[in-house]
Every structure is written in structure tokens, then in C-alpha cells.
Amino acid sequence: MNASGFTTRLVALTRKETRQMLRDRSNLVVGLLLPVALILLFGYGLSFDVKNARLTVVLEDSSPTARQTVVGLQGSPYLAPVWVRTMDEAERLIRAGKTDAILRVPGDFSRQLADGNGRVQLLLNGVDSNTASTIEGYVSGALSTPVLQQADRTGNKSARAATIVIVQRTWFNEAGESTWYLVPGLIVLVMTLIGAFLTSMLIAREWERGTLESLFVTPVRPLELVLAKLAPYVVIGAIDLIMCLLAAKYLFQVPMRGSLMLIIGSSLLYLMVSLALGLFISGAMRNQFAASQMALLASFMPAMMLSGFIFDLRNVPVVIQVVSQALPATHYMSIIKTLFMAGDIWPDILRSCGILTLYALMLVAATRRKLGKTLE
């Protein structure tokens, strides 16, 4: 009798939660439309790539060698060079914010180059340091090729000896496309979002409206309440996951080097963690406004800032590393990036999935305690 009571109640509660979810438009907006908006925003709108960077070239040396050296700046989609005569003019442009960088080829460039000591000056607008370092990379790439060719052609051994040439090749993201790592990171954000914005309201709303009080005085058990509240949002999360994966594959052509089943499996695991965290916060706060603020601060913001989504965690202070290691989002981020870019690297995946499973169980248990059928 007990087991059948459990099933009847769980089904009844799940049906109730589903109806409530579907009848509240704002749930569907946040649960389904916001992820779509994020996919489009991160996929198309935002990127760390710099295209058509404004570069001002001051060619003070008009020799063919100098011309030959800077010819590589043209015809690149990443740089849009503008030619000016004097340094004064170039400085005016950079001060007015009309150019991102100045490349100055001094008057004695070809002579110095012949001595194996060719130098050009690159001035970068450091206001946006990210853009500046990206442009630096572009310019040095564009310049090094002709110099090498030149050296080859003239057979100038000394030039070759004097220049240390770094041959660069980026693995896993050969083109250096930022969408390649933004999109997997986006899946982490979307999975976090449902927990932070949707489930964080659920228990608090019942506290505020006083419905929990009458629900408590029925044969309902706390675990049934928790499971019923998770169920409909797992479905929403799964729909979001499918959308993200489709967008990653077909819209942004992000490679999926690991197995799809692992991607889906680990995502659902993290989804449980995220939903349970939202529910726990909701149960602990008992107030919708406080719960949504807390969920934003404790779940969504850290997932965005500290999970390795934007900032490389190896370069942050130890304190922040400790905090970020405590975040479930960090572990999921590491799984999903590995799976997309590198492949099935089992030891890492097993370790991270283990941690996520622990989180999920702990949070469900903690939420169950919060719904311990008492008003105190």
C-alpha cells in the first residue's frame, strides 16, 4: 500500500508542477527563449576574435625591401591597414581612438635589415588589452612570413641567424575560433540558468502563498515533493540541451570529438545538480525575491566568472582557484570542454562525473531536509 501511495502522490504532484510550469508564461520565456537568445548572442554576437582591426602604417622607408615586408598586412581579413605619411598623423589618429595600432617602419629599416638587425615599431592602443594582444599576434604573424621568405631568397645567413623564429600551431582549436570554446561553455551556462532562475522560485513560492502548509498536513513525504518539483524542469533542461547541441554542430560547426552519449549523460548529471541547487536555495530562503537573488549570486554568476568559461583558472590567485574548484560548474565545464575539443579522456571524465554525482545526491538530501514538514 505504501509503495502504491508513493507512486500515486508522486504522479499527482508531478502533474501539478507541470501544469503550474506550463501556465506561467514567464517560465517558458526563461526556460526556452532565453537559451535560444543566449545561443545566438554567444554564437554570433560575441566573440573574442578581432576582425578588420584598424592598423595605421607609417612607412618612413620607401625602399622595395620595406614595402615587401609590410605587404603581408594587406589582404588579411583580420587587419584593415591605413597608410599615413608621418608619425604625427598616426599619433593623432590613435589619440582620437580612430585606430587600434600603429606600425612604424623607420627610415633606415632596409639598411638595418641587411645587417640582420631589422626593427619595426608597433604601438598598441592598450585601452582594450585583449584586442591589443590579439592585434600584436596578427601583425607579427603577417610580418614574419615575408621576412623569412626574403631571407630565403637572398640566402642571407646572418639574417636567419639573428632571428629566432617561433613556428606556432594551436592544437584542439586550430583556427583559434572563440566560438569553439564559447559554445560548449554556453551549454554550461544554459544548464545553470534553469536551476538559478526557475527551480529557485518553486519552494519559495509555495511558502509565500501558504500552500506548503496545507500540503504538509497530508500523507505527502518530503522526498516526493522534491522529486516532483525536479521532474518537469529536467524535461525543459533536456530540450535546451538538445537545442544547444544542434546549434553547436550545425550552426557553429564546433567539433564534437568525444562521444555524444557522454556529452548528454554528463550534461543531464549537471542539470540535476543545478536544479537541486536552485531548489535548495528556494527552500532555504522561503522568499521568491531573496531566492532568485541568492541563486544568481551563488549559482549563475560564479558559473559565468569562475568556472573557466571566460578566465583561465590556472592564472587566478589560489583563493579563487579553491572557490572555483568548489563549484560544480567548474567540473562540468572541464568535462564538456574536454569532450568537445579533445575527446573521451576517461580519467578526467570519471573524476568530474564522480564529483557531480556527489553534489547531486547531497543537494537532493539537503533540500529534502529543508522540506522537513515543519514551519519552524
Binding site: 500515486t8 502522490r9 501558504g210 500552500t211 496545507s214 498536513v217 497530508t218 500523507p219 514538514k373 515543519t374
Partner: protein, 593 residues
């Protein structure tokens, strides 16, 4: 004690909470009681008496700090779930899911209580028929009226026949009609199914219908027993006095209640004043005080016994405080130059629509200077809408509206300067002190400098307020005095009070009305809404609204006559009769059309 005959057995029960001032207080203090099975049991007491705390402990939602509590023979501290499996409980806010339909709410609770499908159909049909909700099964619970929500809440707790039904203040904030319907259902079930019901209430007429009554005040049980036994307490000390010709009943009532050493309680009722005298006090003094008002004994009621118990408890608590709580404020008497000639509020053909919905339909009335005018009506009748239009908070759709000689359409700001407004929730800043609140509201009304200082000092004196106390942690009755003081700072001609007495205990209500009658005497016009029908007796004239229309307008006496003569009829019955007449008319008209 035989467990089979008792549903609840409590021994030395105690429960404490941390109050808003940071100190612990006992919400329930050393309470022992035994509730008999198979009948209606009432827990009565003013707000803050501990009724809800006790009920929540019975439902296993709160753990007692001390003492033992058995429900249906089960120790609650040991196995609350076993109790929760067998009882049904309706909290004060009904516990309905507003986004689910009536039927979906019923089905949810039936599933949760594990009602077999076979029993369900018959039970649902019965519940829907009793609650008259059969027509609305598809409607979301959030779109039902207050009374219907309450009936649905009851139906949800009764999807099966529980071993014990617990209702926490089911009639709070519900109009008299819905209240009567609810009691019909409960009494029918007690009669037919031998249901055991525990109900908490602040209404004595409801307690009177119960087999057993427990009276609470400030966490302690003052008395218990059958209504007849409790009523006997007041035997021989209850009287009715008739005021002399041309004296409003409330003036005689004020005279009586100002003599607490002789009189325990006095209320205006049906044009006379019902009062309770202190037993054994000097007959001569009473005769002297009522020299112009003939008085005669009347049969005692449960309400009388209740008021005596409360007054007794209060006297014990405040033995030191010599000052009676209801001392009249010293309001400077306003010379009555042409009073009652010029109406201060003129309302003609006032209409307010919200979309297609007619919230107020073609309403007209006038209020004279110094009058107390009451707006009464069931929930959703249009009281609040009318009220807000009068205060200039809501523009009218059409019609003429004049307040203090200013047309509200053209001179709203000017009219507002002449009125004071005390909202239902007492718009006070909880973390400011009493003085800071007064100074802020005074500034908001345009007072500054010396004038502000003088008015604040006068208000502190007049309402007997402690200037440095923090407003947020004051008791409800005190908060209400402060709210009144803020509304009167700028010495308005008209004072608007929106449900001023909801949530404060009967003694504080008497004190409140004493203040109001004194204000009216000094020339301030008072407009008040209330859902306590007996408070209409303090008003010079009342308007009863339902579905946006004014159904009755006049002195309490005229309204009672309209309801079908019989001046013995109390306001509650008069109100029900008038609303029912009008609804019946509307239905026959609707049927004919």
C-alpha cells in the same frame, strides 16, 4: 481519559518564538486541554492569543518546547506523519493552487490523501454541490471570489472524511454571507458524518454553535466549557440602555466606556447601548450616570462572557497602568459654524470601470461635516474602489466627486491637502522611531519648522505615544494609534480609514472607536470601511455595497428597517438580508431577460 473519546489531549503545552524586538515570548504558555471527538470545538481569542500556534502544533507543523500533545491517540512529537495521514487541515490562507482549476485542486488533494477512484466521484459531486461550485469546476482557483476560495479550500480538505478536521480562522476576511454558508457545510458534516472539528475563530456567534469552547488570550487559556456554561458567567450583569431622544447611541456608549471602574464593556447596538456592569459595584453611581437613559437587563451572551474574561485578564496585566487605554484624545472643539448644512463630500453618479468590469456603478451620496460614514459590503463589492476614488488615489470613469468643497477632477492636489488617510496596512516605516515617522509624514503634508514641531508634540501627547520607540516592533493597537496620528498631523477636515480595526483585539477596537467618536465630535468627518458589521452601529450613516451598487443608504436604523423592520435584528443579519434580497432580484431579472 479515554483516548477513543478524545481527539486532542495536551498537557502543559508551551511554545516560544523570538519576537520582533529580539526577546523570546510564549505564544502558548502552559496549556492543558482535552478535545472531545464527534463534535465541534472552538478555539476563541483575540488576534495574537496563540490560536494559530496551537493549531499548527496539533497539525504537527510546529514542535512544542515543553509539554505533551497527543492527537488521535498518537504522540505528535514522535510520529507527526502518522497524524498528518489521518487529519485534514485548512490553514488561514486556504492552501489552494491559484493557477490550477477548481477540479484540479480537488483531484490533487484526493490523490495526495489516496482517495480510491470509486469513492471519488460521489464525494466530489457532494462537495461541489454543498459548496455550490459545480458551475465553476474549470475556473482557476485564483479567479474565484474570497468566499468561493474559502469554500473550495474546505472542499479540498474534505475530499475524504478525515478522523479530525482542523480549520484555522476559516472566516477571517470573509463576508457574512460566505461565513454563513461555510458554517452550514461544517455543521451538516458534523451532523451526518459525526465529524470531529476543531475551529479557531474571533467571532463569538460562531463559537456559540460549538459543543465546547476554549478561550485564549496572550498564549494562556482563560476558560473552557460548553457555551451555556461560559455564558452563565455574565448572568445578571448585562443590560441595555436607551439613549435620550436626539442623542446618538455612540455618545451614550462613550459615556459608559469612559467609566471602566463601573462598566466592563459597552457597545452601541440597534440604536441602544448594550453594556456589562461590574458586579457588586455601587448601584447609585450607575443610576446617576444613566439618569437620562433608562436601562433594563438583557439575556447574557457568549460575547459578554468573553469580554469579561478579556477585561479581567487585561486588568491583571496592567494593574499598574492607571491610564485606561481608551482615553479620549484631547481634540480642540471646533466651533460648529453651520455644521451639517454644507456637505463635505458630494458624490453623484460615480462610475468606475476596469475594462468591461463595472467596479462601481452609478453611486451617489453625501456626507455632512462631523459625520461618521461607514462603507460596508462583501469582498469585491466595490468598497475599496469607491474609497480610493474619494481619496483621489484613483480617477473616476465618470460622475461628479467633490471633497471638502473641491472638485476632485480639477483640484485633486488641493483636495488631498484637506484629507487624511490611514491605509489598511498602516503605511509606517518600521525601522524609524515614532517621532521620525511623525516628522516624515508631517513633512510630506507640507508642515515644516515650528509648525511641524508643534504638531508632532501635540500628536505625541494626544495619542499617548512614546517618541523614541521603534515603529516596527509596536503592538498592533499601538501601531494603529500611530497611523491615526500620522493621518491627522495636518489637521485635515476629513479622515479616511480603510479597514482600521482588522487584526486588532476587541479591547483595542473599543479604544479605537472611542477615539473616532471624539474626533467626530470635534468636527472631523470620518469615512470608514469595515467588515465588522457591528461596528456600523458607531456610524451616523452607512452605505451597503454589493457588486458595485449601493443597496442601502441611511442611518443604521433605516438600513435595518429596509432589511425587514425588526429593530432587534443585529447589523449582521440586516446586512445578509439586504445583500440576499438584491441578489435574488438580480437573478429574477436576469432570468426574465
Amino acid at each position: 481519559m479515554n483516548d477513543a473519546a478524545a481527539t486532542v489531549v495536551a498537557q502543559g503545552l508551551r511554545k516560544t518564538f523570538v519576537g520582533p524586538d529580539g526577546n523570546r515570548f510564549a505564544a502558548i504558555d502552559d496549556v492543558s486541554l482535552t478535545v472531545r471527538a464527534g463534535e465541534l470545538t472552538a478555539l476563541v481569542g483575540p488576534d495574537g492569543a496563540g490560536k494559530t500556534t496551537l493549531i499548527r502544533m496539533m497539525a504537527g507543523l510546529l514542535k512544542p518546547d515543553a509539554g505533551s500533545l497527543q492527537v488521535l491517540g498518537i504522540d505528535l512529537t514522535r510520529d507527526p506523519q502518522a497524524v498528518q495521514d489521518r487529519i485534514s487541515y485548512m490553514p488561514q490562507r486556504f492552501g489552494l493552487y491559484e493557477d490550477l482549476s477548481v477540479q484540479e485542486n480537488l483531484t490533487l488533494y484526493a490523490d495526495l490523501h489516496g482517495v480510491p477512484q470509486a469513492e471519488r466521484r460521489e464525494r466530489f459531486a457532494r462537495m461541489l454541490e454543498m459548496t455550490d461550485l459545480a458551475r465553476f469546476t474549470e475556473r482557476p482557483a485564483g479567479k474565484l471570489s474570497g468566499g468561493m476560495k474559502q469554500k473550495l479550500g474546505l472542499a479540498c480538505t474534505l475530499v475524504r472524511s478525515p478522523d479530525l478536521l482542523i480549520l484555522d480562522e476559516p472566516s477571517v476576511g470573509v463576508d457574512p454571507l460566505s461565513r454563513r454558508d461555510l458554517w452550514k457545510i461544517v455543521q451538516q458534516l458534523v451532523h451526518e458524518e459525526k465529524l470531529s472539528v476543531i475551529v479557531s475563530t474571533a467571532y463569538m456567534d460562531e463559537a456559540e454553535r460549538c459543543g465546547q469552547v476554549f478561550v485564549f488570550n496572550r498564549g494562556r487559556m482563560l476558560a473552557d466549557g460548553a457555551p451555556a456554561k461560559l455564558r452563565a458567567w455574565a448572568h445578571g450583569v448585562t443590560f441595555t440602555a436607551r439613549p435620550p431622544e436626539a442623542m446618538p447611541a455612540r455618545e451614550l456608549q462613550a459615556r459608559l466606556i469612559d467609566r471602566p471602574e463601573l462598566i466592563i464593556d459597552a457597545v452601541p447596538s440597534g440604536g441602544s447601548v448594550r453594556f456589562i456592569r461590574r458586579a457588586g459595584e455601587d448601584e447609585k453611581q450607575l443610576n446617576e450616570m444613566l439618569h437620562d437613559a433608562p436601562f433594563a437587563p438583557r439575556p447574557e451572551e457568549l460575547e459578554d462572557a468573553f469580554m469579561m474574561l478579556l477585561r479581567q485578564a487585561e486588568d491583571k496585566d496592567t494593574k499598574a497602568a492607571a491610564k485606561p487605554a481608551y482615553e479620549a484624545p484631547r481634540v480642540a472643539a471646533v466651533s460648529s459654524n453651520g455644521a451639517n448644512c454644507q456637505p463635505v463630500i458630494v458624490v453623484r453618479d460615480l462610475v468606475r470601470k476596469f475594462g468591461d468590469f463595472m467596479a462601481v456603478a452609478s453611486t451617489s451620496f453625501e456626507v455632512a461635516r462631523g459625520e461618521i460614514f461607514g462603507l460596508l459590503g462583501p469582498n469585491g463589492a466595490g468598497k475599496t474602489t469607491t474609497f480610493r476614488m474619494l481619496c483621489g488615489l484613483l480617477p473616476a470613469t465618470s460622475g461628479h466627486l467633490e471633497v471638502a468643497g473641491r472638485n476632485l477632477r480639477t483640484a485633486r492636489a488641493e483636495a488631498r491637502g484637506r484629507i487624511g488617510y490611514v491605509s489598511q496596512k498602516f503605511a509606517l516605516y518600521g525601522n524609524l522611531s515614532v517621532r521620525e515617522n511623525l516628522e516624515f509624514f508631517g513633512g510630506a503634508y507640507g508642515l515644516r519648522g515650528k509648525a511641524l514641531k508643534a504638531r508632532v508634540a501635540a500628536s505625541l501627547e494626544q495619542f499617548d505615544l512614546e517618541p523614541s520607540a521603534q515603529s516596527g516592533i509596536l503592538p498592533a493597537g499601538y501601531k494603529q494609534r500611530l497611523a491615526m496620528a500620522t493621518g491627522l498631523l495636518h489637521e485635515p477636515d476629513i479622515l479616511f480609514l480603510d479597514e482600521p480595526t482588522s487584526g486588532i483585539d476587541p479591547l483595542a477596537r473599543r479604544a479605537f472607536w472611542r477615539t473616532i467618536t471624539a474626533l467626530a465630535k470635534s468636527g472631523v468627518t470620518i469615512i470608514v470601511t469595515t467588515h465588522f458589521m457591528e461596528e456600523a452601529e458607531y456610524c451616523d450613516r452607512i452605505a451597503i455595497q454589493d457588486a458595485g451598487k449601493v443597496l442601502a443608504l441611511g442611518t443604521p436604523h433605516q438600513v435595518r428597517e429596509q432589511a425587514g423592520a425588526a429593530s432587534v435584528m443585529d447589523m449582521n443579519s440586516a446586512f445578509i438580508a439586504i445583500v440576499e434580497q438584491s441578489r435574488a432580484q438580480r437573478e429574477t431579472k436576469g432570468g426574465a431577460a
